[in-house]
């Protein structure tokens, strides 16, 4: 039985802050930050937006693209995030209620830093293939937290991507998946702490690259594919540099990864990051083309997917706004307004 993506949708809040406007406040050099991170601005949620509202908007767009899927046919709803509005009370139930998926569905919030929603896709694949549900939905959404003045403040942003997984009417088939997980202290937030802590330079080699590379290679070994079989590659995007370097290490070219690199202009949307990148690729990919997607979550793990786009993509992608629309729909705010929003939106 085939399994894959029946519908996908994204949402990015319309406010942006430029790296310059953050750097000015802390006396940092904006030029070296921009060239060091390959990020020039990031998205900022409104005062009345949080992970739940972002997730609902993305999920509604996914449902529009899934055209014939009725909300009542969605048997599982997972929301992956590290900024769920409540410590106890599931975001997934709010999403299910807002889409009319309730009450005959299972729902749960997932946590694994920035990769919880790809784990949610894997769970949906299993439930669909096992015949337990007809369709499942996994949403990655975050209004990312960061301590004021921390290096993360230049990238931690807000956005969401939602995927409806099923066995028929696929816009893209998921050929296989492979994961790689180890206990690594590269980034964490203790219960009750407002902001995450991270291991600085330690986040690179033993964390991001180790997992992204090993998961991607493991998947290709399992499937017997290699770099030349893929038209696009998508990775988690903590900044603009890491995914580009991971692509090079694996033997992919800049052309393979460029269509997914939304991080430069919206920042790191954490749980939404790699899945927003995948959506940007689905917005432009042609039938028959293949995509390698590998997420990354600190702590640490990667889920890798081999995806093949189907003929149905052409008629479905125009049923909801593309990533490019949300990227270009923007209004700049200054640090004062950003600070006002931030102190109220942190989860």
């Amino acid at each position: 039985m085939r399994v894959g993506i029946v519908g996908y949708g994204v949402y990015i809040p319309r406010y942006r802050i430029r790296v310059e406007d953050i750097a000015r406040v802390w006396g940092h050099d904006a030029g070296s930050i921009k060239s060091g991170l390959d990020v020039i601005e990031k998205s900022v949620p409104s005062l009345d937006e949080d992970t739940a509202t972002l997730a609902v908007e993305a999920a509604r767009n996914a449902l529009k693209r899934a055209k014939d899927v009725k909300p009542s046919e969605i048997g599982a709803v997972y929301v992956g995030s590290e900024s769920h509005p409540y410590a106890v009370k599931p975001t997934a139930a709010t999403v299910a209620e807002a889409l009319g998926i309730v009450p005959n569905t299972t729902a749960a919030d997932l946590e694994f830093a920035c990769k919880a929603a790809t784990a949610g896709i894997q769970a949906c694949m299993g439930l669909v293939r096992g015949g337990y549900i007809k369709y499942g939905m996994s949403v990655g959404a975050d209004t990312a937290q960061c301590a004021p003045g921390d290096a993360l403040e230049y990238t931690a942003s807000a956005g969401a991507a939602a995927y409806i997984i099923g066995g028929e009417n696929l816009v893209a088939e998921i050929e296989d998946t492979f994961s790689y997980t180890q206990d690594v202290p590269d980034f964490w937030r203790r219960e009750g702490s407002l902001y995450p802590r991270h291991g600085g330079r330690f986040t690179g080699e033993p964390a991001y690259f180790e997992h992204v590379i090993k998961a991607s290679k493991g998947l290709m070994e399992k499937l017997g594919t290699n770099v030349s079989d893929y038209n696009y590659v998508v990775f988690h995007m903590p900044n603009g540099k890491f995914p580009l370097r991971a692509a090079k290490i694996l033997g992919f070219t800049t052309e393979h990864i460029q269509p997914s690199l939304v991080v430069e202009v919206i920042g790191n949307t954490y749980s939404g990051s790699s899945l927003l990148g995948l959506a940007a690729v689905l917005d432009v990919a042609k039938a028959g083309e293949r995509i390698l997607l590998t997420s990354y979550g600190s702590g640490a793990g990667s889920d890798s997917f081999s995806i093949r786009v189907t003929d149905l993509i052409e008629e479905r992608r125009n049923l909801a706004p593309p990533v490019k629309y949300y990227v270009e729909r923007k209004e700049y705010i200054d640090y004062a307004l950003y600070a006002r929003n931030r102190c109220l939106y942190r989860g």
């Binding site: 009345d48 949080d50 739940a52 509202t53 609902v56 409540y86 209620e97 807002a98 009319g100 629309y325």
Partner: protein, 141 residues
């Protein structure tokens, strides 16, 4: 201040989450918030639940500079009476729009936002607000 107890919040949630109203299947009239009886047809009316499309126009509006405590952080904000394409008029905040940009007759669409929170500890109320309708993505991309 008006403290909203969780059961009251919960009872109104469904109609606010999905813009659920009611429709009289006898005369076609639509209502928001949902009604149990059609005022035109009375006993002949047949009321059913209906989900509105979320498309509408601004019927009238006002700019709020001085708000109740739970909405203070949003000031100044636009409070509008939105006429849904199905007919009913609903009161809503207009978001993603500056006070100087709002106009009577402006096309708007529903979006999902936080409505209010009692404090850092209480329940968060979610539901529809409206934003300027933007269909540019259908032709520009």
């Amino acid at each position: 201040m008006s403290h909203i107890a969780p059961p009251a919040h919960w009872r109104r949630a469904k109609e606010r989450y999905r813009l659920l109203g009611s429709k009289c299947e006898n005369c076609g009239s639509t209502f928001f918030p949902p009604t149990k009886v059609c005022p035109k047809c009375r006993r002949k009316g047949k009321i059913a639940q209906t989900e509105f499309s979320g498309k509408g126009k601004i019927y009238s509006y006002t700019i709020i500079h001085s708000a109740p405590k739970m909405f203070e952080k949003y000031t100044p904000y636009i409070l509008a009476l939105v006429e849904l394409e199905e007919g009913p008029k609903v009161m809503s905040q207009i978001v993603d729009c500056k006070p100087e940009e709002v106009k009577i007759g402006m096309d708007v669409e529903a979006c999902f936002r936080k409505l209010f929170e009692q404090d850092g500890e209480g329940v968060i109320s979610y539901g529809f607000k409206f934003r300027p309708a933007d269909n540019s993505w259908k032709t520009s991309y």
